[in-house]
């Protein structure tokens, strides 16, 4: 039986996976993907069945854990944000070579417009690179349905399958029709072809041509996919190629039907035949896709095209940022200025008196004390550089602290500080959070230990993964032990509570650590104010909202 639920795109995918017989979800929190795992953690069926839903240390460990479950024949899913796919790229690309056994979904949420990210990378490129099929739901209902479809596709092709979400789908709620019962889980069973799971050259050389052949088969699969569709239109002066969530904006503009022949793509590899057919009957093409111009690049050669192709690369559509109905309307009006149906009154002007309201560290946040003390400690060193990392404390870059000089990726604070110190920078200070430290800081700290690098590493420990809303952090309660285990000497490892009353002590501790020749690590600790409130609400009197 079907029931209606109001679900975020993330939640629809999560429930779809549970209902399709998921046995384990793995992942590392990252906006806008976090709610996939959180939904499974709270789901009654998942609890009853003991579906794995514990956070992993990083996306690479999560990916390999999910692949291990797939190897054992069960259905697994790994969740991450787009840049998380970089962190597990080694595992991901090679899992095209090993393939999957039990169905495996790689749920990746891209963040066009960079609401909460460093870049706009588009995961569809990764799929093509690794010969892995990609499904790109247009709405919450498809996100739900693609979980089951994706597991079947994964088992049929014996490959992992990417489900590519984008912010606007991940974080938008809609009414979704879902099954009221979950399908049975797979039994434990090993792959029939064991060789491809051992990627020694002898096996890889056999596997690679096979993988290329499977990908060709997948192209044919795309031609008949229920998620790829040719929609006839009467005006052949333009053909439209539209993918994923962009389809919704097109439908919004033409409630009575799209006048131009349209190919809608939500399953990759790109269905070449459908596109060839469209281009043969149209005078020009417009490609509308959320993210980077993936389909457009595939269509547009270096040499002259058969038909003019319009999209992000020729400026018909905005090149950066997420799409919206206005962008799609503007693009269509550039190509078809006479399209009266799309014309509308000029909207009101943007108010001139509003000013941006940037995010800031919460009142009562320990990161504030770290940056306050650090700025005071470094006042006498004009050449000091602070290498930052990914988390709430990245906000230390903004006023009033203006304290951070670099932010690259998870874990880069320690390693970039090390490299800079070797170039002669002093003081070189790394500021990294506890969750980011266990995600990708450990190996870098080992490098620094081995060379006794002349840097100060501040681990600003708030006992949680704060930025994404307070998920369990894998190093909680173990940070000092981890540092000692990596070889940081006990004399150079300090712990202090990040509290306003400790300001002077923090300043002098930072100063003496900077003056120490060689590696110093300061663990500055205070529980995240948001999780304190939540814990307080559980224990103490109930809050209003």
């Amino acid at each position: 039986m079907k029931i209606k639920k109001l679900l975020l795109g993330d939640e629809a995918l999560a429930l779809g996976a549970v209902n399709a017989g998921l046995s384990g979800a793995y992942g590392y929190p990252g906006t806008p993907s976090t709610e996939i795992m959180e939904y499974i953690q709270a789901n009654a069926v998942a609890k009853e069945r003991g579906i794995h839903s514990h956070w992993s240390a990083n996306e690479k460990t999560a990916y390999e854990e999910a692949l291990g479950m797939s190897y054992a024949g069960k259905r697994s899913m790994v969740t991450m944000k787009h840049v998380g796919l970089n962190a597990c790229a080694d595992a991901f690309v090679n899992s095209g070579m090993t393939g999957a056994n039990g169905g495996m979904l790689v749920a990746v949420a891209d963040d066009p417009s960079m609401h909460s990210s460093q870049n706009e990378q588009d995961s569809r490129f990764y799929g093509d690179f690794a010969f892995v099929p990609v499904l790109e739901p247009a709405d919450q209902q498809e996100a739900y349905e693609m979980a089951e479809y994706g597991f079947r596709l994964s088992e049929k092709s014996a490959l992992p399958v990417i489900i590519r979400l984008v912010t606007r789908l991940s974080h938008s709620r809609a009414t979704v029709e879902v099954d009221d019962a979950a399908a049975p889980q797979n039994e434990l069973h090993f792959p029939s072809d064991g060789k491809r799971w051992v990627l020694m050259p002898v096996n890889s050389k056999r596997r690679y041509p096979e993988l290329i052949k499977i990908y060709e088969q997948l192209e044919l699969e795309s031609e008949s996919s229920p998620f790829n569709e040719y929609i006839p239109g009467s005006d052949h002066s333009l053909g439209i190629v539209v993918s994923g969530i962009a389809y919704n904006y097109l439908k919004e503009l033409f409630p009575k039907g799209i006048p131009f022949p349209t190919v809608r793509i939500s399953q990759y590899p790109v269905p070449k035949g459908m596109l060839r057919n469209l281009s043969e009957q149209c005078d020009a093409l417009l490609v509308i896709e959320e993210g980077q111009p993936f389909i457009e690049k595939a269509l547009r050669g270096v040499l002259d095209n058969m038909v003019p192709i319009h999209g992000k690369l020729d400026g018909t559509l905005v090149r950066t940022g997420e799409l919206n109905p206005d962008h799609v309307r503007d693009a269509l009006l550039i190509l078809k200025p006479g399209l009266d149906e799309l014309k509308k009154e000029e909207p009101r002007a943007q108010s001139e008196i509003t000013v941006p309201r940037p995010p800031s560290l919460c009142k009562g946040c320990g990161h504030r004390d770290v940056f306050g003390a650090l700025n005071d400690a470094l006042a006498q060193y004009p050449d000091a550089r602070i290498f930052g990392d990914i988390g709430c404390y990245t906000l230390g870059y903004l006023a009033p602290f203006n304290a951070i000089h670099t932010v690259l990726d998870m874990g880069a604070s320690i390693t970039m500080a090390k490299g800079a110190s070797e170039a002669g920078v002093h003081p070189a200070v790394a500021v990294i959070g506890d969750s980011t430290f266990t995600h990708s800081g450990l190996a870098g700290l080992l490098d620094a230990v081995n060379e006794d690098s002349n840097i100060l590493v501040i681990i600003s420990d708030n006992l949680t993964t704060g930025m994404t809303g307070g998920q369990d952090s894998q190093g909680t309660g173990k940070i000092e032990e981890i540092c000692l285990g990596l070889g940081v000497s006990a004399e150079c490892l300090h712990t202090i509570d990040s509290l306003p009353k400790n300001h002077d002590n923090m300043v002098s501790l930072f100063k003496s650590a900077i003056e120490h020749k060689g590696l110093s690590v300061v663990v500055s600790r205070r529980e995240c104010i948001q999780t304190v409130r939540r814990h307080g609400a559980h224990r103490g009197p109930k809050a209003t909202d």
Partner: protein, 195 residues
Amino acid sequence: MKTDIILAGVGGQGILSVATILGAAALKEGLYIKQSEVHGMSQRGGEVQSNLRISSEKISSDLIPTGAADLIVSLEPMEALRYLKYLKPDGWVITSTAPFVNIDNYPDEALVMRHLEDSGNVVAFDMDELARQLAAPRSGNMALLGAASPFIDISPDKIERAISSVFSSKGEKIVADNIKAFRTAREKSLQIAGM
């Protein structure tokens, strides 16, 4: 019916609860809903905005085009102004007048109010103050929902039922406080709008 609403406020003010409750009420009515919101970095005291679309017909886009919103519903006056370009010419602005000043360059408050008054159809009063007067100090967001409710084609009973169910885990007093704020603000809004 079809109502497109831009919900606005500052991270932590409780604007997403307003969206949750309206969503729950609309679902009970058998209506279609799309509600888009942004999580993550912006929730740390930054501007927060949600697109809420409720309709008896299927909804395509998660985002409301410019010039198409029926309502701007805001817990903060400058945040209401930020989204005016999305409002229909005959749309309504429902906003709290209490400024949330967490930035140095917040514009002159009197100027913000003047711009609001000039924006057309406006219902503006201090939602937090109303909640305080009712001795329900944390119900400012439900007061805002009450003020917006006359402009949304869902019966107030249904919205109240959704408030009860969303807050039920927090105890009867909280539910009663929030409903009181909802009702009082609804009455006040009906008066101001001359409905």
